[in-house]
Amino acid sequence: MDPVVLVEAAVKKPVFGCRMCGQCVLHSTGMTCPMTCPKTLRNGPCGGVRPDGHCEVKPEMRCVWVKAVERAPRTPWAHELADLRPPVDNRLWGTSSWRNLLTGRDKRTPAGWRVPA
């Protein structure tokens, strides 16, 4: 197994509940991981958020996006919250997002995806 994957998982799983999607956007969403959303929504909250700000699917969990919207302004990447994030590349699950960031692999989108972030 890739030692970088092991280190990344060891660091990010306990802290952020990282799912190892291999295309990390954590910094742009207030350091809350959108892949922990039961619907894995990367572009904002669904319409089912409960009045107390908790998740439609897991009532015990605060909505990932409620947290993201709260926390993002306090990060240096606040302006990236509104980015239009492309669909997940499902081939990257279980790979290291650090490596994919360095190689630019995580920025590769399908040819038909022509939406400016």
């Binding site: 039961p38 929504l41 319409g47 009045p51 919207v69 239009l84 399908p110 939406v115």
Partner: protein, 312 residues
């Protein structure tokens, strides 16, 4: 050009309705569901497994609507299909002349009667909009050409009544960036929430970039209001409204009054382009509500070209 896009572009007041889900009974079953309000609406939504319950597919129902002379808005939710299946349905819909698409995230499988199902969410609603826009420009997500490009008129949903409230207009703007030209707003029983959303929508330019269409739900009974408050994700019904309906001598009549008041309030807000009407087993109520509010039938709206319905 679809009738809905014509109305939106001309700035005419738009009326859409949600078709009750269909399970069987052929085209007659589809027709009887919209016949009572046929003359009032610009288009009717063919829903996509509403509340995570299986029904006749949105594509099949949208085709049925067209065959019956009604313009469909085909809903697409991200819960049940991956991107390939969604692209296939969009291309298939366009093949049948279905232009209006409404792209939603979708309730979770746990909200339905088959909670053990696998949830898909390969795309989110915003990515789905962007994908559909690409198809309208003549290409699949892969970049492969579609020639001729299908004619599409894209929309989505936003919920003014769910947290994070201050973020909802920003999210709606993102949907516009992804391709949405109309937004059917989720049913919102809390007037002040809808007001706040519309105020921001006008201030941030959302209302001038997309037709904002609040939904009004015609609940039949006070118990239905309770049910929505407790069980429908993203919808809250204020306690005083439920109490009012429960205390009334005629609960059903009071529910209709409440719907009329909410509809009248919603259409009075600056930036509102129309209404989306949802009735549960009360299709005749939609026509009654339109008549009550002085919303002229569609043919009259088209010939007169008025941008606002005549006030009562």
């Amino acid at each position: 050009m679809s009738r809905l896009s014509d109305a939106v572009e001309a700035g005419r007041f738009v009326v859409t309705a949600e078709l009750l889900s269909v399970d069987s009974g052929g085209l007659d079953a589809v027709h009887e569901k919209f016949a009572p309000y046929e003359g009032y609406v610009d288009a009717v939504n063919a829903t996509d497994n509403t509340a995570a319950h299986a029904h006749a597919s949105a594509l099949a129902v949208a085709i049925a609507l067209r065959r019956l002379g009604m313009e469909p808005v085909m809903q697409l939710v991200c819960r049940d299909r991956n991107r390939l299946a969604l692209e296939a349905d969009i291309a298939g819909a366009a093949l049948h002349g279905i232009e209006n698409l409404c792209c939603l995230t979708g309730d979770d499988v746990t909200a339905g009667d088959e909670p053990e199902a696998r949830r898909v969410f390969d795309l989110d609603s915003i990515q789905l909009l962007a994908l559909a826009r690409g198809m309208g420009e003549g290409r699949y997500l892969s970049g492969r050409t579609i020639d001729p490009a299908p004619r599409l008129f894209l929309g989505a949903v936003e919920n003014p009544g769910a947290p994070p409230y201050d973020h909802r207009v920003e999210r709606a703007l993102k949907k516009v960036r992804a391709g949405a030209r109309f937004l059917q707003l989720q049913v919102c029983f809390e007037r002040e929430r809808l007001e706040a959303f519309m105020r921001e929508a006008v201030a941030q330019g959302l209302a001038s970039q997309a037709a904002l269409i609040p939904s009004i739900c015609l609940a039949r009974t006070p118990a239905a209001l309770c049910y929505m408050d407790e069980r429908v994700p993203g919808i809250s019904v204020p306690a005083d409204l439920i109490e009012r309906a429960e205390r009334a001598a005629d609960g059903e009549a009071e529910c209709f009054e409440i719907a009329c008041e909410l509809a009248d309030h919603a259409r009075s807000l600056p930036g509102v382009a129309g209404l989306h009407l949802i009735s549960f087993r009360r299709e005749a109520g939609i026509a009654r509500l339109c008549a009550r509010l002085g919303i002229p039938p569609r043919a009259e709206r088209e010939t007169r070209g008025d941008s606002r319905p005549v006030a009562v």
